[in-house]
């Protein structure tokens, strides 16, 4: 039997109160694309951090080509031929592409030579990049290219990719896969972390599934159905959200000819946006992050004020009304960033319930706060949305991402909105919780509310939305009926491949 490239044997890592990895063992072969599957909190990130030398295992050992491998720091891991593309980009906005890449290398050449090599490698792998552009100005797809090229310049033996496709358009994903396949054909092994099962089925040779820090099974993805893999991840059968049949009512919210300048240097300007959503309708808005999603949510929620006539609710101009006034009228919003935008991290759940619920739930009388009623409201959210927390007195920060997301969405849904705007409602949420959040949005629409769902997860949008539009560089495409749209059509609506090209070998 051949010696595997990297062999993990009984790796264990415990943090106070939680065992992140519990005796995890598996092998990655030479030139193999190995998938690491699991829900959020299953311990995938901790595991790769151990391989990359960022975290030391408590026990267990790793063998690299049969030799003991104990990286004390990422530098050493890189020297041993292990490179990593991070989930949250580890890039420096104010520096240019070449400087960012130099920071990830042990012995970078002179800047001019490095720039030339960046051009050369990026062309070879079909990921064109200008070495002198400032990273803060790049799109998400281009930023990922910077990370990938940073890895490729070091001729890695093993490339670790942590959820690389979550920010890409379908076309960009296709190009990325071609690049990865080219790398594989050159003998590079890839450890691919994702919870997108279809991707893993097309790309990976082998998959290891983690649940609650334990290795619960391995499979050959191309021979296993996505549903089976999902159930191995979750450990139970999955409920798919059900869409009841609904009638659409009159137009609830109407935006016409809206243009808003970019709020900051790295923001996006909205350009001539038209949008209508009817009662009982779910409008899905797709698009790659950074194409105006946050700005659009700001306009809808009232954080960004516009001309009065640009935003209308039931035909009444509301463009000049702030968030509280809009809440009174029934326009509620749940922004994407949970800690700091949708919720105040260091305040308790009760206090967070007060922050958006005071108007519609009558929690504030003559300037005095009714904490008793607020606590009841918070408890109602926790119960209705199965938020796992010891009680409403806990700080928002102490909840896991998925649980806090359930709380944030539940808080708005329970206030019985006429129009609900959500941005990335299931971002970073595990499959079971995501399904329940989607179900609650569908139920809300069935009750006659208009829902605008901004998301980068196309599967999610296809699952719940009635009509679909895409944001691309601050422009919103004309909405189309969601049923029957193909991935290819959606990709084109999202602006295609942003000038990417397929690897020319």
């Amino acid at each position: 039997m051949t010696v595997p490239l990297l062999s993990l044997q009984g790796l264990t890592k415990a943090y106070p109160g939680v065992v992140a990895n519990d005796t995890v063992s598996f092998d990655i072969g030479e030139g193999e694309v190995h998938a690491l599957l699991g829900e959020n909190g299953a311990g995938k990130s901790t595991l790769v951090k151990m391989i990359y030398g960022l975290v030391k295992p408590d026990s267990g050992k790793m063998l690299l080509r049969g030799q003991p491998y104990e990286p004390a720091e990422p530098r050493q891991a890189r020297a041993d031929g292990i490179a990593m593309v991070f989930q949250h980009f580890s890039l420096f906005d104010a520096l240019n592409v070449a400087e960012n890449i130099a920071l990830g290398m042990e012995n970078p050449p002179e800047m001019r030579d490095l720039a030339a090599r960046i051009r050369e490698v990026s062309e070879t792998y079909g990921l064109p990049l200008d070495p002198y552009r400032t990273v803060g100005d790049l799109s998400a797809g281009e930023r990922q290219r910077v990370e990938i090229i940073r890895c490729l310049l070091q001729d890695p033996k093993l490339l670790i990719m942590d959820e690389p496709t979550s920010v890409l358009t379908p076309q960009e994903v296709e190009i990325l896969f071609k690049t990865l396949q080219k790398l594989q054909s050159e003998g590079t092994s890839i450890l691919y972390i994702s919870h997108k099962l279809e991707e893993i089925r097309t790309l990976c040779d082998h998959a290891t599934i983690l649940r609650l820090g334990k290795n619960v099974g391995e499979c050959i993805p191309s021979e296993t159905s996505a549903r089976d893999m999902a159930e191995m991840m979750v450990g139970s059968t999955l409920q798919t959200p059900e869409r009841g049949s609904r009638e659409f009512g009159e137009i609830a919210m109407d935006i016409s000819g809206l243009s808003v300048p970019a709020p900051s240097a790295f923001g996006t300007a909205l350009k001539n946006v038209h949008l209508t959503v009817r009662k009982g309708e779910i409008l899905g808005i797709g698009g790659v992050a950074g194409n105006g999603q946050d700005e659009l949510l700001g306009v809808l929620s009232g954080e960004t004020l516009t001309e009065p006539d640009a935003v209308k609710l039931h035909g009444q101009p509301i463009g000049k009304l702030g968030p509280t006034a809009r809440r009174k009228l029934g326009v509620l919003a749940a922004p994407e960033e949970r800690l700091g935008h949708a919720a105040a991290p260091d305040m308790s759940l009760t206090e967070n319930a007060m922050l958006t619920g005071s108007v519609r739930e009558g929690l504030e009388k003559n300037g005095f706060l009714d904490w008793g009623a607020t606590k009841d409201f918070a408890e109602r959210i926790i119960k209705a949305f199965d938020v796992r927390t010891p009680g409403p007195g806990n700080a928002a920060r102490s909840l896991s991402g998925g649980n806090l997301q359930k709380f944030v969405i539940g808080r708005e849904v329970l206030q019985d909105p006429d129009v609900l705007v959500v941005n990335q409602p299931t971002w970073g949420v595990d499959a079971a919780a995501a399904a329940s959040i989607r179900q609650s949005l569908l139920d809300l629409a069935t009750k006659g509310a208009a829902v605008i769902c901004i998301s980068q997860d196309l599967d999610e949008l296809m699952e719940i939305s009635d009509s679909f539009a895409a944001l691309n560089e601050g422009r919103l495409s004309a909405p189309r009926e969601a049923a029957g749209l193909t991935v290819n059509e959606i990709g084109l609506m999202m602006g295609g491949a942003h000038g990417m090209e397929v690897a020319h070998v």
């Binding site: 960022l54 420096f92 906005d93 104010a94 520096l95 400087e99 920071l103 240097a265």
Partner: protein, 306 residues
């Protein structure tokens, strides 16, 4: 009023002297802030450097040894700040402010027996021919070596930040400490070194006041130069040459207004005395129209587990 008593050559030569303490402190703080740390204790480190340098120079008879002691004292005080903010995760603003208060008190205590003493003189350099040239000689070639050190330091900091690997890593740490950590850079170590560099520079700046500019010891003699240095770093958009420009502007207006006072110009003394602060800030505000240069992690504490 007799404006003809003002000699432009001497004016320029003395503005360079007036600007040097501010320049040294600002360049040090610039490096600290580029690494993502906001140390508001510049004033405290300067005054401790001023008395440490003064005392050492008086006791040893060597002004140069005094400057070395001042740099060490400034760096030592900054280590206190580094321990509080980098290892104990204390708030940087509060720690910096208390460092200033601590430094002012400590220096007063250390300086009790040095009031009214004259320190040994630091000689100006003298290059044959060059220093004797009219106009150019006294302006460019007739100063003490610390003044030239300040200008050389500005050039060195500019070069290191822009072209060297060390500077790139330092900027990376100040820009996004989480990413720098993920790439395997020692964020705390780099910040500790930057803070110590800033402390040493502030100490030198303080000693320049007590040993060359004034030269004597009085309590609180730094008189807000440390605060001006902090403002200067921001308004100079974290660019070394702009800090030099700002420092010379401040020094220039200070010297001019002193000369105007001496010449008996009919402007109330209070207005003249505030003019250096006002003019420096107005000019630098106009220059710093591009606000995007602040290091993104400035003032944020780093902890590996967050």
């Amino acid at each position: 009023m007799d404006l003809s008593a003002i000699n432009p050559v001497l004016l320029i030569a003395s503005l360079m002297v007036a600007a040097t303490p501010l320049l040294l402190a600002a360049i040090g703080e610039l490096v600290v802030e580029k690494a993502g740390v906001l140390n508001l204790g510049v004033e405290g480190m300067m005054i401790v450097g001023a008395i440490a340098g003064f005392a050492t120079a008086v006791e040893s008879g060597s002004p140069l040894l005094g400057f070395v002691a001042a740099a060490i004292a400034g760096a030592a005080l900054s280590i206190l700040f580094a321990i509080l903010t980098q290892f104990a995760q204390a708030n940087q603003v509060a720690s910096g402010l208390s460092l200033t208060l601590f430094g002012l008190g400590l220096s007063a205590l250390m300086g009790q027996s040095y009031v009214g003493i004259k320190p040994p003189q630091m000689g100006d350099i003298h290059i044959p021919v060059l220093s004797d040239l009219p106009v150019v000689g006294p302006i460019l070639f007739g100063h003490d070596i610390i003044l030239y050190f300040g200008i050389a330091l500005t050039a060195a900091v500019w070069w290191v930040l822009k072209y060297s690997r060390l500077g790139l890593v330092l900027r990376a740490v100040g820009e996004n400490h989480d990413a720098a950590h993920a790439l395997g850079y020692k964020v705390l170590k780099i910040r500790l070194l930057a803070i110590m560099f800033g402390g040493a520079c502030a100490g030198l700046g303080g000693a320049y006041i007590s040993l060359i500019r004034v030269p004597q010891w009085t309590e609180g003699m730094t008189a807000g130069i440390g605060w001006i240095a902090l403002a200067l770093v921001v308004f100079a958009s974290w660019k070394p040459w702009r800090a030099l420009l700002g420092a010379y502007l401040f020094g220039g207006v200070t010297v001019v207004q002193l000369n105007l006072q001496a010449a008996g110009v009919a402007i109330p003394v209070e207005y003249l005395a505030m003019s250096p602060y006002l003019i420096t800030i107005i000019v630098l505000v106009i220059l710093s129209a591009d606000k995007s240069n602040a290091p993104a992690s400035l003032g944020r504490n780093f902890h590996a587990s967050r």
